[in-house]
């Protein structure tokens, strides 16, 4: 028992590396926020464009969504970080992590919003168009709010899954939570920093899971 506590909950190590872990939390939060905003905005934009049903454009949107949903983000991260400098494109670690995760989230979000658009009744579009709103305003005021409402539960789950992947930054030296923890672990020779990273992730993501539950429970329309 003593050995277990020494390994995972060493107070001296904890005190020493808390500032590093907190710095890691800050980096994780910043990248996660940027990924969520850019990924959702990108996905929503693509789904809106797709609803115009322009054949060539939709071909590219679907290709993009399928490819980025199929690829493991780590592979793309490594290519961008280690491969791109050779062709003269030098991106910082946090930038690579942001681009890849935002692109991945955008691909999933596009599909989720698109499913939302597809489940908006045809009659809703017809009502908007028949009242002279035209396609774009019907999209914006009639279809979009309904599609977003339908998309929230699956979207929240996907956002959680992808923002957790900020931990992949440890593979390219982005000093987010996991990276700070593994560095601290090798310096201290103790597993305690890893325990601290677990706590850090829970502090960030547990509230998000709870918010997700709450959002899911209030997505139904007012019913008679």
């Amino acid at each position: 028992m003593d050995r277990f506590l020494q390994t995972f909950f060493n107070p001296v190590v904890m005190a020493q590396y808390t500032p590093d872990i907190i710095a890691g939390i800050w980096v994780t939060l910043q990248i996660a926020a940027a990924v969520i905003i850019a990924g959702i905005a990108g996905g929503l934009l693509l789904a809106c464009l797709r609803s115009y049903r322009i054949k060539t454009l939709n071909f590219f949107i679907i290709c993009y969504a399928d490819i980025f949903r199929a690829l493991p983000p780590l592979v793309v991260i490594l290519i961008l970080y280690f491969g791109f400098p050779s062709i003269g494109i030098q991106l910082s670690g946090p930038m690579v992590l942001f681009i890849v995760l935002a692109a991945t989230l955008a691909a999933f979000a596009e599909e989720i919003f698109w499913a939302g658009f597809s489940s908006v009744e045809k009659g809703q579009w017809e009502a908007g168009i028949a009242t002279g709103l035209g396609f774009t305003r019907t999209l914006a005021y009639v279809a979009l709010p309904q599609a977003v409402r339908l998309a929230i539960p699956p979207l929240v789950n996907r956002v959680l899954a992808i923002t957790k992947m900020t931990a992949l930054g440890s593979a390219i030296g982005v000093s987010e939570i996991l990276s700070s923890a593994t560095t601290a672990q090798s310096f201290s020779g103790s597993a305690t920093p890893l325990t601290m990273s677990v706590v850090a992730y829970l502090v960030i993501f547990l509230p998000m899971v709870i918010v997700a539950r709450w959002l899911e429970s209030r997505t139904a329309w007012k019913k008679r």
Partner: protein
């Protein structure tokens, strides 16, 4: 009727692939006239109505509303013309995420560019006309079908249309709710609205219609006053249809 034509359908044709739904339909509706369209299902009557605001794209032919051809002009012209053509659907299609008031003001604000004050006032007037002003803050999901349909009528009326199209407006309603919607339509007729109604409410047609049009197989088989069509139909197909629906 001596009035000028408000809606003219000129050799309207609609094909889906090799299937011809409408075969060179011609129909004139005068200002203030209520034309009632009957016919068996698949006769093309709903398609004809939906071609009148190009929700369904005609294969050929012209649709002329108050002297202007909606088949000519740009997409923007079409949206502007659609403001003058009110449409009421079988399934109401109110926006579920908006209050009744918002449902009636949306197109006024965003398409007609009316101010909020003006749009709200107009909406309340129209809701009063259909007897729904007390539900302005309710959501569509809280209303009965008949109430939803009346709000949908108010939503169209608020745009000051020149002609109103009704596509089986009472078919989705419970029988006891049909009356309230028909009453609103009757009021509208008495106020001089030009109306084209596709419906199976023969009693309403007898009482309110100026003219009854019988369609079958994508053509207008016969038309005349309600007395002529219901009392003494000339065509065999009309007689067969009427004996079927009257049981």
């Amino acid at each position: 009727m001596a009035n000028r034509p408000m809606l003219e359908i000129v050799s309207l044709e609609k094909r889906f692939g090799t299937n011809t739904i409408l075969k060179k339909i011609d129909l004139k509706v005068a200002e203030g006239e209520l034309v009632f369209v009957i016919g068996p299902s698949g006769s093309g009557k709903s398609t004809m109505l939906r071609c009148c605001n190009r929700l369904e794209e005609p294969t050929s032919g012209d649709i002329i509303v108050d002297g202007r051809n909606i088949m000519a002009g740009t997409r923007r012209d079409l949206d502007r013309m659609r403001l003058q053509i009110g449409m009421v659907f079988q399934g109401f299609h109110l926006y579920p995420h908006m209050s009744v008031l918002k449902n009636v003001t949306l197109a006024q604000r965003k398409a007609l560019k009316r101010s909020k004050v003006e749009a709200d006032a107009r909406a309340m007037d129209m809701l009063e006309q259909v007897g729904m002003e007390h539900k302005a803050d309710a959501y569509p999901g809280e209303l009965s079908g008949g109430q939803q349909q009346r709000v949908a009528i108010a939503r169209s009326l608020a745009l000051d249309p020149k002609v109103m199209l009704f596509d089986e407006p009472t078919s989705a309603l419970d029988p006891e709710l049909v009356g309230s919607v028909l009453k609103v339509m009757k009021d509208l007729k008495s106020k001089g609205m030009t109306m084209v109604v596709v419906s199976h409410e023969m009693g309403f047609a007898r009482e309110t219609a100026d003219r009854v049009v019988f369609m079958d197989g994508g053509v207008v088989v016969e038309q005349g006053t309600p007395d002529e069509i219901f009392g003494a139909p000339k065509a065999e197909r009309t007689r067969a249809f009427l004996s079927r629906v009257s049981g």
